[in-house]
Symmetry: C2
Subunit: 406 residues, 2 copies
């Protein structure tokens, strides 16, 4: 099993084993004992006793109960939920979700608010802070109690700089110092990431791909993007734009995409395309419950998904078509990446096998046997919250490892 997500900073190579132990404790479902730690890290029991002693003294870890067999009952260790609280902030193209979590990454409270990302950072970010400032006191938590926060946005991120690259969906955000701006207003360390990347992290830590070594999370929202977790580490690529599966060309002269090209996956299977195809169908007189909506061009992807769920055959077919296109692109990904699991997230993933079956079928047909036999294709377990939970994981990584530093 992969052990670390946290990129260990150079200054702490010294305490490598302490950080390794901390991550093993964090991500072990149901806790882990000292002896199991010693086996996995490769240290002696004595060394682990000493390391765990430090972690308990720092109030990061506590002892709990677990099961056993044979001799003496092992003492289970888990993160101390009261060591502190963090925020996970998921900024989408039309909304923001903020999650308050404790040390165990348990969600204590949550808030949603609409947002229009095209309005740029000067409008959006103050809105986000405003939402937090009015909501947080009601949860019984002061802003000063927050140890760290992580934010994700739907575009490629230059993570060292805390800015976004050149996102087509985020006009005006280019070069704005998102992380620094938020750190100042929230008064705590902030980490900036990509939504699909954090989705991958969330599903890896607490979702469908728990503990897998190689995971791809496909976020099918307004756009389509992938977050990659390879050999147990988030993979960002050279300029932070790895995983841009949405702009793979599938159909030579297909419909035009927001990126300027034709026939991109996003233009064939994304939320925008789903709505568009629904409207086209209606104008051609296809039989569907959506025909009642007026004006027809107010139909959005959410409507199509809801109708498909209710049993609307036309909308179900639209979803299935999306599945085949997604499957084609995912087959390429499976051939190239050879992952353990592909997790499908975003709105349409709620439809489960209706979407997944055509994906699975296409992947089986279009990728190498060794690769498709090894891969599971599942819907996101954390659903709408995959990315926010990934942000929580990231925020906890920051504060846990920072405190463990000394």
């Amino acid at each position: 099993m992969a052990t670390t997500v946290w990129q260990i900073p150079k200054a702490s190579v010294k305490n490598l084993n302490k950080h390794a132990a901390l991550d093993l404790i964090r991500f072990a479902p149901g806790g882990i004992s000292r002896i199991e730690l010693s086996r996995q890290i490769g240290l002696t029991r004595a060394a682990v006793t000493s390391i765990v002693g430090d972690l308990i003294e720092a109030r990061l870890v506590r002892e709990a109960n677990g099961q056993h067999s044979g001799g003496r009952k092992p003492i289970n260790l888990e993160i101390n939920p009261d060591f502190g609280r963090v925020l996970g902030i998921d900024i989408g193209s039309t909304h923001v979700t903020v999650v308050l979590a404790n040390g165990l990454a348990q969600v204590l409270n949550e808030v949603n608010a609409p947002l229009d990302i095209t309005q740029g950072p000067e409008i959006c970010l103050p809105q986000v802070v405003q939402v937090i400032n009015t909501w947080l006191p009601n949860t019984g938590t002061g802003l000063s109690e927050i140890l760290a926060a992580a934010v994700d946005v739907p575009g490629p991120v230059v993570s060292d700089a805390g800015k976004v690259g050149a996102p087509p969906i985020m006009p005006g955000w280019d070069n704005f110092p998102i992380r620094d701006w938020l750190e100042e207003r929230l008064g705590c360390p902030v980490s900036l990431g990509n939504d699909a990347e954090f989705g991958a992290l969330g599903e890896w830590a607490f979702g469908a791909g728990r503990g897998e070594k190689n995971l791809a999370y496909i976020k099918v929202g307004t756009g389509v993007g992938a977050g990659l977790l390879l050999d147990g580490q988030i993979y960002r690529g050279t300029t932070g734009s790895a995983g841009e599966i949405g702009h793979i060309t599938l159909v030579e002269d297909g419909p035009i995409c927001t990126c300027g090209n034709h026939g991109c996956l996003e233009a064939l299977a994304g939320g925008r395309s789903l709505a568009l195809r629904a409207r086209e169908g209606i104008s051609k007189g296809r039989r569907t419950s959506l025909a009642e909506i007026w004006p027809a061009n107010s139909i959005i992807a959410k409507d199509v998904i809801a109708a498909a769920r209710r049993g609307d055959l036309f909308c179900q077919q639209l979803v299935i078509d999306s599945g085949y296109h997604l499957g084609t692109a995912i087959a390429s990904l499976v051939n190239l990446i050879n992952p353990d699991i592909v997790v499908i997230g975003g709105g349409v993933a709620q439809l489960g096998d209706l979407l997944l079956d055509p994906i699975r079928q296409t992947v089986k047909q279009r990728s190498l046997k060794v690769s498709w036999q090894a891969v599971r294709i599942s819907a996101a377990i954390l659903g709408r919250r995959s990315s926010a939970m990934g942000a929580v994981v990231q925020a906890l990584s920051m504060s846990l490892h920072q405190i463990a530093q000394v």
Copy 2:
């Protein structure tokens, strides 16, 4: 810069810094000083002095001369070329190449021999050993002087087991204990890898992608495969079949491929396809110097490449067509992986820009701006020897780090 290729075994986490220093010395072009090591590893000068002292005492490293500026001249360090010799063995579908190298990975001697991989391991492997046994004594090196060897084969490898997965081009090799068999006959540790994977390693260490963090090596031979080096580490995927770019579907109802599907990249742009398209053109009466060859179905990819080189316009067009198909698949790879560099290797890569320009053009057209702007697309510098050199790097990794262990 990426520092390690060698996957550090658990037992040596203790000497982490010693291994880090060794790799920095190995891959620093023109040597590296103690002070530079201390900066890059993050240790004090005193600690580096001690570590380097150990390495010199073990005869792995020696002092050499370099340039300076300012105060005292730094003493450059390099691997001691005489610490030992290794073999790099590249098994292709029709040939085997064996390279003898010293500690600095300098090629001392080389041998080529034909081979038919479809004859299975019981025929091929004894042939390989036979080639080595007759050639090696002439180089002034006894088999007993070889510290380690690395072998690559053109199929997915289960590297822990030292066997191949389920390669379509390698019937009969499935489950044969290639590594163990060779270790016994050669009397030294052997590492088994995939040809594209070792090609990536070779070009990363001494070729076109020297020291890059994220590199993809595309081997265009009889088949088409990619080796991936991500975040400075070889990436193999879950079952060792990552990088199978050759079986990405490009054309829905395209020509049939060896894998059973239709329209795979390999069936459109691989060596087999190149020869096939040449024969088809001839039978249609196209004007080409290849028409002289008789019978027409004896034409192979090598002939087409040679003709294109001589200026045969028909053959050049075939190569350009291959370039566009390769470009389409590489555009997907660039979108997904966002690499620093894509290195094109194999026979056709000798043609340089004739092949690369259509690739570059297609990638520019079909991938995201942030990604194609960041990526270089180059031909392999090591040419035919990319994989064999990667094998040398791997073999040296084994012996250097094993000796440094204690």
